[in-house]
Symmetry: C2
Subunit: 235 residues, 2 copies
Amino acid sequence: MYTDLMNAPRTARERARAELTREILTAARRQLGEVGPSQLSLRAVARELEMASSAIYRYFKSRDELLTALILEAYNDIGAAAERAAERAAEPGERWIAIWRGVRAWALANRHEFALLFGTPVPGYAAPRETATAAGRMPLALAAVVAEAKAAGALAPPPAPPCEPALIDADMTALLPDAAFSADEIARIVLAWNRLVGIVSYELHGHLVGVTADDAGFFDYTARVSGAFTGLRFA
Amino acid sequence: MYTDLMNAPRTARERARAELTREILTAARRQLGEVGPSQLSLRAVARELEMASSAIYRYFKSRDELLTALILEAYNDIGAAAERAAERAAEPGERWIAIWRGVRAWALANRHEFALLFGTPVPGYAAPRETATAAGRMPLALAAVVAEAKAAGALAPPPAPPCEPALIDADMTALLPDAAFSADEIARIVLAWNRLVGIVSYELHGHLVGVTADDAGFFDYTARVSGAFTGLRFA
DNA sequence: CGAATTATGAGAGCGGTGCTCTCTGAATAG
DNA sequence: CTATTCAGAGAGCACCGCTCTCATAATTCG
């Protein structure tokens, strides 16, 4: 089910299958953008594609599986947005801000996808193995900036109490290769990542109305403060 | 609709109405705890109460209104948990940690309610006026600790770039009365509040699996780091 | 008190959902 | 050419939110 589209289809049937799978996915994504995850209806997707609703089940064995596929796409999408933003600036501090702004812009333009990734998990959903790498792209973009600063010797010493190494998963240190991050540095990157999606979620969900007066400005402030906390220096 | 239960009912009808409204609410909350917001079904609540599903609509004119009532309850609940936790410690640093732990404990024990408050907003929901004060109780408990430290002259100067006053809503400064907080101090409290629900959300949604090795320990680290960022001093 | 009004509950019904099953026809494999 | 696999359609099940009508009970008013 939801067979990998990249394995070159040979027969006409396989080609048609791959094509229709993509069509279902793009139609679903379109509708997701309009009505949000909870309202996304398999039957509506089938209607848009002018096929029987039962036929969809030949391609995705449940609504949850369709949503999972969309989650994977969205993770790659927001990760790509972060990576693209990172390329638009050279100096670590500027790169950091660029990534933050890029992620926020993506989230504002794709709020339902963002909700799908970081909002309430869909009930029947369990993250498959492949999701992890896609999900890691965005935080890895942040980590790369810190690694760059560290390599240049421009990483400021941590201000507050340090994080004990035992609190960080061993897989995590292994996942960040070249930089040889300390546990404390990893912890700060994790917190920065958490802060980024946290503040965007707050803005998207309306928790900041009557609190902040300038969402974009407060976001930039948050980005700088969070970067400084991670050890970056700003102009 | 969803008439205030506190206005003393006089006639038998009003008494019965108030009673049944409460029964619906508690049944709904029970089911919410089991299946989560998205799966909460008005018909199932009606079945549990052995009444026709259509009769529920005499008390809540839609599923969204029922959810709104549950949101209000949950906001007060988590706020009360924070306030109770605050009372269990005297010194500001300990109070801060106590509140954080209290909120986390509440969230772990009421994950679906927590999702209702800080997860993806329910589609048809628009926060009514009364919700604001209930929603403010938890962050206000945090602010109170900072105010206490400030009054005692024990608030450390801010480490990183300050927040410009223009970024904070005027209503917000007016809402925090006695403490005469600066915009920068408010911004830090807002960020601490955002961090608290952000890190709990990450833990609840599984974004920390394979990242942290000890959720409770990492949470405590986050609480300390966040407190220090806000200006508190820890032993 | 009796009549008029109002609030409440039950039931049927509408259009929607996810999902399963069976049946038919077309593409593939041997 | 035949046997098998696979894609699609349709009917149907159980559930959902919500609306409407109708009868009955509680309240208010003359």
